[in-house]
Amino acid sequence: MERCRLVFSGSGGQGVITAAIILAEAAVLHEGLNAVQSQSYGAEARGGATRSDVIIADTPIYYPKVLQPNVLVCLTQEAYNKFSGIIRPGGLLLTDSRYVKTQRKVDALQRELPMYRSVLETIGKPIVFNICMLGALLSLTDLVRPESILKVLESRVPADFLEMNRKALELGMRLGESARV
């Protein structure tokens, strides 16, 4: 596979770091791929734009950070303002249409999806916003199989919350499917 570098960004509490860990763990444990995940710590991770980097590849990964993401996810305006410039030409920019107003064209496939609104309308719990985002990403990129994400969710999420996460993933996948080119 082509090496994929992803940056998930948003604000603290939206679950972008958790989503990054789930994706990378799914790639390693259930797809037999290599992945590394890292995140920014400290003052910049509390309030302001938070960020987590993931690299997925079938070859060894040495330098673990992402300088130019193929896939950039921005879940807040601040994150978009801060990171939209680093996307690799030809990459994918995924934003949430409630939180982010895209201002300029980047040399990338831009997808603005109503992920937050859909989660609130159909599930009613914003806590699974990040899983919905992962679902949309899976439909747009085929990075890992949805079953692999579900296996990770089963091992991480308390049983009572699993169904809600499954729904959020499927919801995201449908949103992503509708936005495929």
Binding site: L29, Q37, Y41, A45, Y63, K65
Partner: protein
Amino acid sequence: MGKTVRFVQGNEACVEGALYAGLNFYAGYPITPSTEIAELLSLKLPQRGGKFIQMEDEIASLCAIIGASLTGCKVMTATSGPGFSLMQEALGYAVMAEIPCVIVDVQRGGPSTGIPTHVSQGDVNQARWGTHGDHAIITLTASNHQDVFAITVEAFNLSETYRTPVILLFDEVVAHMREKLVLPEPGELHTVERLKTAVKEGVDYHPYLPREDGRLPMSDFGGVHRYNVTGLVHDMWGFPSTEPRVVHGLLRHLVDKIENRAHELARFKEFHLDDADIVLIAYGSSARSALHLVEERRRRGERLGLLELQTLWPFPADVVRTRCSRARAVVVVEMNMGQLLPSVKLAVERPDRVFLANRIDGVFITPADIHNILRIIQGKGV
């Protein structure tokens, strides 16, 4: 059955390695970026019948594990630069009293409380000379989680074999990033158990009387033998002595048992050194950026190689000299102002061809940073 594969932070790889090696006593005071080590062990050690104690500070932490080690436990503590500073007195005591123990320092930016959440490799010389007096020390590091696991096991093995504190010098990048760890099966990696004295109860035990191979068998403190342990210069009974012959003998023993074995203690990895014009020397997370650059530039015909050091102290001078003998330039990559650089210069035949590629601003050095410096060294400009 397939092996257990995990997706973990470097700190967790260290914890798993320590448990594999037989860790059963941990005392520490949490500090970023080492906190996950304490957090995970506070859960896992009691589940296995081990002991976890959160101490009032790092001085007490190291003192507690020294005491526990004397009673027969395999022990560890973990900290970062500020805590490691506090540990220096007790570290010297462990060197002098020859107490096996493992001290993890997950480096962050210093001096003082410095820059807690950012990467640095500024404690390399503190690990070597932080405690006072002539002494030798073993300091190990690693750049990926599989190696973090293995080198942690190795740290316990060497501390037991040579009755010495061993310092594991990790850094924020490796400690916090997540990647794959394949857990070795029991017995897959060699583990060294405590060498206990064969001296029976009721017979005098000389705690500091070496066997013919130089090793010092131990007797669990508080068990069947009464003996003295002190930070003062001591004789074979462990009692203080100012006898010049004893003083000289002890200091030579403490230094020689490690420095004379620098070659066999050298743990390192080689990448594309056979025909390398330029040899990079790196360790810890810097080695990840260096290897990234080496693999990338090899594909474009540049003859770069990497010597990744896992043993920092005793400095593996022979390894460095032989691996660099044919290089036009040697570039030491570290995230400090060149703490390992002088040792490399001393080891090689042409010290004028040794250069530093570094970053000291809390930002993880990138392959491009190293490449830019290489171009300048080669006179190619930016």
